[in-house]
């Protein structure tokens, strides 16, 4: 099978899942009691948003590499916008923030585009993280200096550096897997998002024991185990679109699920500490774009570096 055919087979499966979800949502909506209305409406809004996100992913695949990079650059842009909106900043943070938005984002994705792995991997963590606090210091405002620079750095790290690792799988030239790296990105995103969805579903159906009630009241032990194991099973069964064996793919899915879970947890804690429930309101039913990308921010870089170490 060619990469094209593999992609559309997987998309066929996703489409079938979405149709099933929409049907269930429609059926639940018809027989919902008034007091459950809100939960069902939110569920249906989520499903609708999934249709849109799947369509965008298909558009990336059809339009190719540049479109994919532009799409993820925009995702980083909106995610950083959400992060910066919720983070209190002072006048002295203006220039560093301008540089994050207008320099760091284009530069990071351009480096993927020209296939310069070496600089892609260190540009933000070395040059960015040293330059930004220096610029803030030159501004002369030392009030809460450490907190302010930390927040900007974390925002840049999560929303730009970590998110860019998803399309960065284009940089992986795995022997025997040339020209198919977009499939690897699809695999990563599918396993992360399916794990999120199944953890939510298992949690809603069987959730008894809260995992971290202070941080994220919706996360349960049952959700993590049920959803995580199912996602690993699905990921393993997708081995034929990856360069991995069946068990290799199961191992990779385990890594993705665990990293994604930790990402969701850590970003929930960040949200709590700045006093917000959702990152924004950009995606109906889901909250902001960071609410959808939180697991990706942890899963993508770890997946990338393990694949790079083990398969290249």
């Amino acid at each position: 099978m060619t990469a094209q055919q593999k992609f559309w087979w997987v998309m066929g499966g996703v489409l079938a899942l979405l149709l099933l979800a929409s049907t269930i949502g429609w059926w639940l909506g018809r027989r919902a009691a008034p007091d459950r209305r809100e939960v069902i409406d939110n569920l249906n809004a989520r499903i609708r948003a999934w249709w849109w996100m799947t369509a965008l992913l298909c558009a990336c695949f059809v339009l190719g590499r540049v479109a994919t990079l532009v799409f993820f650059a925009l995702a980083s842009f909106f995610a950083l916008r959400e992060f910066a909106t919720l983070t209190p900043t002072r006048r002295g943070d203006h220039l560093p923030l301008v540089l994050c938005f207008y320099l760091a984002i284009p530069l990071q994705y351009w480096l993927i585009g020209i296939d310069w792995y070496g600089l892609f991997a260190i540009c933000i963590p070395v040059y960015g993280f040293l330059l930004l606090p220096a610029i803030t210091a030159l501004g002369g405002d030392t009030e809460n200096f450490l907190e302010r620079t930390t927040k900007i750095q974390w925002g840049l790290m999560l929303t730009v550096y970590c998110v860019s690792y998803a399309p960065a799988v284009l940089l992986l030239h795995i022997p025997g897997y040339q020209g198919q790296s977009l499939l690897l990105m699809l695999y990563l995103l599918l396993v992360v998002q399916i794990s999120d969805v199944l953890q939510y579903v298992f949690g809603k159906l069987f959730g008894q024991h809260k995992l971290a009630p202070q941080v994220s009241p919706s996360k349960t032990v049952e959700g993590l185990l049920g959803g995580g194991l199912s996602a690993i099973a699905i990921g393993a069964c997708l081995w034929w679109i990856t360069p991995f064996t069946f068990w290799g793919s199961a191992g990779m899915s385990l890594v993705i699920v665990l990293a994604g879970f930790l990402g969701g947890l850590a970003l929930s804690a960040v949200k709590r500490s700045i006093g917000a429930k959702d990152w924004g309101s950009m995606i109906e039913g889901h909250g902001g774009i960071l609410d959808r990308l939180d697991s990706v921010t942890f899963a993508a870089p770890i997946f990338f570096h393990i694949v790079r170490y083990a398969y290249m």
Partner: protein, 199 residues
């Protein structure tokens, strides 16, 4: 027309500027929207937040010394949001500085004004100048709608060239009118409080 579309798209991309109609609904009635003023983006953000059919009938009042000197800003002000220019420097202005505003209101259009007269560096507005009172007295049929723009003082503070993209929410409050035997100071205080209440 195309300029207006491009401008609104750009504003959405940078600062969102989505409207929350808290105290009133969008309406084609003649209105004077008055808001806090913290950055040069305010004019564009409030104007973009309006539904398209109201946007076409609403003109922001813009300082001639900033928007009125041609170039890219002048192009945006003339062809984008159709500014009504106001002269802030009294010495360069003959007659009533509010006359261009009166002309627009007489033509049945709605206005966007920033009664502080200048940008403040704070999230909360400074005291209002008298212009709003004079318009409220002379155009009793116009609804006065308080508006609060959040986060723009951080997006584009005084002295900065590029805006930092931060999501701005534009909150519209309850429409008000000048009350019988309400004097200038009372009215301006009440209008000021109406904006602060939305913060």
């Amino acid at each position: 027309m195309i300029t207006a579309h491009v401008l609104v798209g750009l504003v959405r991309l940078l600062v969102g500027a989505h409207a929350r109609w808290i105290g009133c609904e969008p309406s084609p009635a003649q209105r004077i929207y008055f808001a806090n003023h913290a950055s040069h983006l305010d004019t564009l953000a409030l104007w973009s937040a309006l539904p398209p059919r109201l946007r076409a009938r609403t003109r922001p009042v813009a300082a001639r010394d900033y928007w009125g000197h041609g170039g890219i800003r002048g192009f945006i002000a003339d062809h984008g949001f159709r500014a009504v220019y106001i002269e802030r420097d009294r010495s360069r202005c003959e007659g009533d500085p509010l006359q261009p505003l009166r002309d627009a209101l007489d033509a049945g259009e709605s206005l966007i004004i920033f009664p502080e007269g200048t940008r403040s560096q704070q999230p909360l507005p400074q005291p209002f100048k008298a212009g709003l009172f004079h318009l409220a007295r002379d155009y009793p049929q116009a609804e006065l709608v308080p508006v609060y723009l959040d986060s723009l003082h951080r997006s584009m503070p005084k002295g900065s060239l590029l805006p930092v993209p931060l999501t701005c929410v534009v909150r519209f409050g309850q429409a008000m009118r000048l009350q019988a035997n309400e004097d200038k100071d009372e009215f301006l205080k009440r209008a000021h409080a109406a904006v602060v209440a939305l913060a």
